[in-house]
């Protein structure tokens, strides 16, 4: 009958109106910034550099390979390689970035730098309340501002961080095993080359 739909609509709106005082289902507003919604784990905003341990300079995983700089689509990363080397997580001497700048006013959060990094050194942060009134300098993050600990990474992306840590542990175990095997074979070779001359000298 004509008008039935109108009455049903009026009933629904009335239900909404009254229900909004009693149930949260009918009042879905989250009053930011007093209330916030928990972001999901896969949230990503801008990159940060991961460091292991307590000292951010010594534990920085980044070896300045500059792959992320080349792959970044809007070219927001600027890296300057160091001239000396320092040992990395696996003990091998590597370069490190003397300068690592990301311009977050350009960064488009595409995560390509994270995907191509072979050293699990750059990951996506979840911080978004980064407004500043310094239009240019305030949005250019340098190495020190970008470096955040592995504990922070665990806090914001627990599953991902656990996977990364497992992967790195496996790598370390592999390289340790290789080093041990190499050391053992070198020792065996040294023992073998040292023993016969001693036995043959008699």
């Amino acid at each position: 009958m004509l008008g039935e739909g109108i009455l049903k609509g009026l009933a629904e709106t009335a239900r909404n109106f009254v229900g909004s005082y009693f149930s949260a289902e009918r009042l879905t507003t989250v009053q930011y910034p007093e209330q916030r919604i928990e972001p999901i784990e896969a949230t990503r905003d801008f990159p940060f550099l991961v460091y292991d341990g307590a000292d951010w300079e010594a534990g920085l995983r980044c070896v300045a390979c500059q792959i992320c700089e080349k792959e970044c689509p809007p070219k927001c990363i600027y890296i300057e390689k160091s001239t000396d080397k320092k040992p990395d997580a696996l003990g091998k001497p590597q370069f490190y970035p003397a300068r690592f700048d990301i311009d977050i006013s350009v960064c488009m959060s595409c995560q390509i730098c994270v995907e191509v990094c072979p050293f699990e050194a750059i990951k996506m942060d979840t911080e978004f309340e980064l407004s500043t009134d310094d239009r240019f300098g305030g949005l250019l993050y340098n190495r020190k501002e970008l470096a955040k600990s592995n504990e922070h990474y665990h806090k914001i992306h627990p599953t991902e961080a656990a996977q990364v840590d497992a992967h790195l542990a496996r790598e370390k175990a592999k390289s340790d095993a290789k080093a041990k095997a190499a050391a053992e074979s070198a020792a065996a070779k040294a023992a073998a080359s040292a023993a016969p001359p001693a036995g043959g000298g008699d």
Binding site: L10, T13, A14, F17, S20, T29
Partner: protein, 391 residues
């Protein structure tokens, strides 16, 4: 004591003008009443605006404005300050004089309508014998202001909005008048005071409001539809069309002139709710005889605010009608039903008291409504879809 509370404003007025010399008293009385109206109704406008924003918000599962005062109460104040301090832009090629006059004319005309509304016992500003005619005459002048606004902006889209608005207002003018004529027929007078007095009687404690009769209920529904269309409110707000024509005929208005249009629209809504209350809901009479001790002006204003709530409820629920749907609805559905309502009212009057007239009148109206609803819902005139493909 209770009678004093009921007449408190009248006594106040008599006290104030008693302080003045005798020759000034009539004019002072009128001026005082006018000042009271000019203060009260914009205050109600502020309350209505706040109610609307909060109410619409709650109906749409969100809070309304709640930052300005506690629960957003000071939001109208903030809006007022904003509209007063905004720059007043007048387009270069606009017709400056008409552009200025249009909102002023609207506000003046809209406030004139309050002169004949009985807001309580003995609280009518002007006692006219042809009060209803005066009200409708004044209401017809608002269309002129809308047209002036749209035309003087020298903006195609404003003009389009203005033409649509005027067409809509003229089309719904006729059902508005016809549904009121039914009330006049039964009361036998055009005077709003007499109409309220006729409804202020009680049988078994229930009032004789006209809405409780079949023809009154139908008349009230059609009056409400026509009133919603007259004030350009959703679902008839195509001329204002917020998502289509920016703001329709008041696109080119900013700052205080926009606020004047806004004020005019809402004060017009309050005014026509007041008229609907007077004609169908018994004006200032109480809903039950036992509640007669509550002041009459309290009933009047609560009925007006209730009508505002219904307006807001409708706005939150219904989608906008298209222009041709709107016009079809007016001329092909509402108008024939109002004419039938006139006939049914006459039948009611001449059938005399008794239960037969209730049955007969209700039956005729319900039957007509159902039949017209069914025939109107046919989609015969829409043919099969034809598709055109690009070659």
């Amino acid at each position: 004591m209770i009678a004093n509370l009921d007449q408190i404003f009248v006594l106040l007025k008599q006290f104030v003008i008693g302080l003045l010399p005798a020759s000034w008293q009539p004019a002072a009385g009128v001026v005082l009443c006018v000042v009271a109206i000019i203060c009260v109704f914009p205050a109600l406008f502020a309350i209505t605006v706040l109610l609307e924003r909060k109410g619409l918000g709650r109906m749409q599962n969100r809070y309304g404005p709640n930052r300005v005062g506690i629960f957003g109460i000071l939001q109208p104040v903030a809006d007022g300050i904003k509209s007063l301090t905004k720059e007043d832009l007048v387009p270069l090629s606009a017709d400056a004089v008409v552009h200025f006059i249009a909102p002023v004319f609207l506000v003046v005309v809209v406030f004139m309508g309050y002169a004949v509304l009985p807001m309580g016992r003995n609280m009518t500003l002007v006692h006219l014998d042809a009060a209803l005619l005066f009200y409708f005459a004044i209401g017809a002048s608002t269309e002129l202001s809308v047209f002036m606004a749209g035309w003087s902006s020298r903006n195609k889209y404003s003009l389009l909005g203005a033409m649509r608005a005027v067409a809509q207002m003229i089309s719904y003018e006729v059902p508005l008048l016809m549904s009121s004529v039914a009330v006049v027929m039964i009361t036998g007078s055009l005077s709003l005071d007499k109409i309220v007095a006729a409804q202020n009687q009680y049988t078994w404690g229930l009032p004789h409001w006209y809405i409780f009769t079949p023809w009154g209920f139908a008349g009230f529904v059609m009056f409400a539809i026509a009133a919603t269309a007259e004030t350009n409110r959703s679902p008839f707000d195509l001329p204002e069309g917020e998502s289509e024509l920016v703001a329709g005929y008041f696109t080119e208005y900013s700052g205080f002139k926009f606020a004047e249009f806004f004020l005019g629209e809402y004060v017009g809504m309050l005014s026509i709710s007041g008229l609907g209350t007077t004609l169908f809901l018994g004006g200032w009479s109480a809903p039950l005889a036992v509640l007669g001790w509550v002041p009459s002006w309290f009933w009047f204003f609560s009925k007006i605010m209730l009508s505002m709530c219904v307006y807001i409820w409708l706005r939150g629920t219904l989608p906008r009608l298209r222009q041709d749907q709107l016009m079809n609805f007016a001329w092909k559905f509402v108008l024939p039903l109002t004419l039938l309502n006139l006939f049914v009212t006459a039948l009611w009057r001449f059938m005399g008291d008794g239960w037969e007239r209730w049955v007969v009148c209700s039956a005729i109206l319900v039957l007509a409504y159902v039949v017209m609803g069914r025939t109107g819902m046919h989609r015969d005139h829409l043919g099969a879809r034809r598709y055109r493909y690009a070659d």
